[in-house]
């Protein structure tokens, strides 16, 4: 090239210039680039049933308010827009008439589905989410209990500026230490909807207090904000339809079978009044499907480790026997709540949310082939065995309970 330049003179430089200009044509950057200040970053999305399709609400982060180092708090940290349309995309695009920026869905943290839509079936709306390239699969999906998703998204929350973030983190946290909720994301939900031997569940979210108040920043200035958003119970799905809700104890029972709730407190009454609390720190569970005498049998094996967390009664906890008694009581408690959950789901919802069917499929593919058609009915009459083994290792930082001293 350089030799050409030396010898060629003006023509060669003209050619070089032309080549460079040609480069400009191709190197103009990304075609459909969108700058950050042109995007409306959606943190949460709500879906409800509308008269002629869906009502979609989107919680948009207000970046000025979030990023403000000082002088924040004047404006709401998030803005919620809503629109209706025949399809989800229809509604989303219609929102552009009332907002200045383009919605960007890649940072979605949570998807709230209104109860009425959930009961009608969510298969159709999940399709658009898995098809749209911008949407990832790592957000949580919850159902608004007795409310519309729009009302949930319109509520501001304390502590976390972005309500969607607060819901995301508190769902993570409550799954770890309270256990009546469960994380459901797009992939697990779609998998479960398509599966014959595994039903889906969605965590419920409810509004405590008057939803109207939640729309303003004013309520955040109180120490007890109202309304509050609260996760409560698990919704049982049959195929893609929400069938009903599990109570707290049953939700825990389901959680135990999934082994994902180390940290959950378990309490049971003492013989002479008061309660004893055990905190589980490790838990492992194993759901199995077997064939016995030509019939399917489901079994759950749970192994857990825990610590004594509170004692309200006069037990001599430092005695060897009392620990093994406590272990037995805890095992009993876990077994009962699992069985209660199983019975209730078998009786009322007939959806195999425990995954006995899938377990049977894994263990005995041939037998499963025979039964899978008829699995909802088989599941309803399934014999389920629960085997729990709890080890209590430590009793906390003190020995005998305070109340024992009081009595003396």
């Amino acid at each position: 090239m350089s030799r050409r330049l030396e010898g060629g003179g003006a023509l060669a430089s003209a050619v070089l210039l032309f080549e460079l200009l040609l480069g400009l044509l191709l190197l103009t950057g990304c075609w459909n680039r969108r700058e950050l200040n042109e995007l409306a970053i959606a943190a949460a999305m709500g879906m409800d049933k509308a008269a002629d399709g869906y009502r979609i609400s989107i919680q948009i982060i207000n970046p000025g308010e979030i990023a403000a180092k000082k002088g924040g708090g004047m404006m709401s940290p998030v803005v919620t827009y809503a629109a209706s349309g025949h399809t989800v995309m229809d509604a989303l695009r219609k929102m552009s008439t009332e907002m200045p920026r383009e919605i960007y869905l890649a940072h979605l943290r949570i998807l709230v589905i209104g109860e009425s839509l959930a009961r009608q079936g969510i298969g159709k709306v999940l399709d658009v989410l898995s098809r749209y390239h911008e949407v990832r699969t790592d957000f949580h999906i919850v159902a608004a209990r007795d409310r519309t998703a729009e009302e949930v998204l319109s509520s501001l929350t304390a502590l976390e500026k972005i309500p969607a973030n607060r819901l995301y983190t508190s769902l993570d946290l409550s799954e770890k230490i309270w256990a009546t909720t469960g994380k459901t994301n797009l992939d697990t939900l779609i998998s479960a909807i398509g599966s014959e031997g595994q039903g889906a569940v969605m965590t419920g979210i409810e509004i405590v207090g008057d939803p109207e108040n939640g729309r303003t920043v004013e309520q955040l200035k109180r120490t007890t904000p109202s309304p509050l958003l609260r996760f409560s119970g698990l919704g049982v799905m049959r195929q893609d339809k929400l069938e009903g809700w599990l109570g707290e104890r049953e939700s825990k029972g389901l959680g135990y079978t999934r082994g994902n709730l180390a940290g959950a407190p378990i309490s049971f009454p003492c013989p002479r009044g008061g309660y004893i609390g055990v905190e589980l720190i490790r838990m492992k569970s194993d759901v199995r499907g077997e064939v016995k005498a030509g019939k399917p049998v489901g079994s759950v094996r749970i192994r857990a480790e825990g610590n004594l967390s509170e004692v309200e009664c006069e037990t001599d906890v430092l005695k060897l026997g009392s620990i093994s008694e406590l272990e037995k009581e805890t095992e009993n408690e876990i077994r009962t709540s699992v069985l209660e959950a199983v019975r209730r789901v078998q009786r009322e919802y007939r959806s195999d949310i425990f995954g006995f069917g899938e377990a049977l499929h894994r263990a005995k593919p041939a037998a499963w082939k025979k039964w899978k058609r008829d699995w909802p009915r088989m599941f309803a009459g399934l014999e389920v065995k629960v085997n729990v083994d709890v080890k209590i290792r430590r009793i906390g930082t003190v020995g005998d309970p305070v109340v024992q001293k009081l009595e003396e």
């Binding site: 191709l26 990304c30 075609w31 459909n32 390239h133 992939d187 998998s191 894994r362 263990a363």
Partner: protein
């Protein structure tokens, strides 16, 4: 086209090229197809596919021994005589051209679907074909060196992908094992071979003539095939074990969804487009060698000594053709499922076997090759 005195491609480079060529496009499309036919046993089907790949490669090695100093196109003319030979070469040129067009379509389609939906596919194709043309004009030696330079990156990204996804492997997603029946496993394996090994036929345009140390190069061919096959099997395995068979099957590009799953402490996340460099690089070599087969064959056909003059015109036609080769993705999927396998079997297996047989027969009948074509194209 004459055989240069010193071979432009070393054994090591050739092995790497074989590997890159095996992985290109296969990594994008195969996991979904395998999960669709073999469900959670998809990875078994991909291993079976590796065995088929090896069988195909052993045949190519044997076949190429008949023309140690010639390209495939030259050998066609030697075996079939001038005119019939040219006819075979012409059909081979068409085959490689269509192959290049389909792969170019796949690349543009991938970017359009997953990354930049509003960018015209032409912009992507033109940019990509420009670097392909550049590589081809620089010649085999430069291509081989490029492969050698890019290979460590592939390995690095691959290990990042594996390491980041291992914690998410759920063994129960692989159960029950061996549920798929033999016929669906075979079907899956054949599709693996059809996408990754049978297209090796275009390699015979420069192997063994332009590759150093024939004996070791043969071993390199086998080694590259095994490495590529294991690579594909590992990706398929991860797809099933992390995403699950049903999700893998639903995805257009499971390996990309797999990369999307990477999330180490909410910090090392959303890196899928970096991992996607694996397929950009491998697809590059796939298009490059298809187009090489096309232009080298055409040069031979037209009696042009150097194929380089043909690269840009063919590249331009290729960009246009890649826009029409598949009118839409559904057509593409249907084509891959129904037409591609018999198509590639014809060009990658039936014609070579026939040529090999005819060549041996003539050799035995005459005691030496026919006089008409001994020096055609030289």
């Amino acid at each position: 086209m004459t055989t240069p005195a010193s071979a432009p491609v070393s054994v090591r480079q050739f092995t790497i090229l074989v590997f890159l060529y095996t992985v290109g496009t296969t990594i994008l499309v195969i996991p979904a197809g395998l999960a669709a036919v073999a469900k959670q046993d998809a990875w078994i089907a991909s291993l079976l596919g590796l065995l088929f790949n090896l069988a195909a490669v052993f045949f190519y090695l044997r076949f190429s021994r008949s023309f140690p100093d010639m390209t495939l196109a030259q050998y066609y003319e030697r075996v079939y005589g001038r005119w019939l030979g040219k006819l075979f070469t012409l059909s081979f040129v068409f085959f490689s051209f269509i192959g290049a067009a389909t792969v170019l379509f796949y690349l543009g389609n991938f970017i359009n679907t997953q990354v930049m939906p509003k960018t015209p596919i032409q912009a992507i194709s033109i940019l990509f074909i420009l670097i392909v043309a550049m590589g081809l004009r620089l010649g085999l030696e430069a291509i081989a060196k490029a492969g050698e330079i890019l290979f460590p990156w592939i390995v690095l990204l691959f290990f990042i992908l594996i390491a980041c996804l291992l914690p998410q492997v759920e063994v129960h997603k692989l159960l029950p094992m061996f549920e798929a029946d033999v016929s669906s496993l075979l079907k899956g394996a054949v599709s693996v071979t059809g996408t990754s090994a049978l297209p090796f036929i275009v390699f015979l345009m420069f192997y063994p003539a332009f590759v150093a140390n024939r004996k070791k190069a043969g071993r390199g061919f086998v080694a590259g095939t095994i490495a590529g096959g294991l690579f594909i099997a590992a990706i398929t395995f991860l797809s099933v074990a992390v995403l699950g068979a049903d999700i893998s099957e639903r995805q257009m590009y499971p390996s990309f969804s797999l990369a999307k799953r990477i999330n180490i402490g909410n910090f090392f996340a959303r890196v899928e487009i970096l991992i996607a460099a694996i397929w950009f690089i491998t697809v590059y070599f796939k298009i490059l060698f298809y187009l090489y087969g096309c232009v080298a064959g055409l040069a031979q056909l037209l009696g042009i000594g150097d194929y380089r003059a043909l690269v840009l015109p063919m590249g331009m036609i290729l960009v246009v053709y890649s826009q029409v080769v598949y009118p839409n993705v559904v057509y593409a999927a249907e084509f891959d499922r129904t037409v591609w396998i018999p198509y590639i079997l014809t060009y990658g297996l039936v014609i070579p076997i026939a040529t090999w047989a005819v060549g041996r027969l003539r050799h035995r009948m005459r005691g030496k090759p026919t006089a008409t074509s001994g020096d055609v194209g030289e």
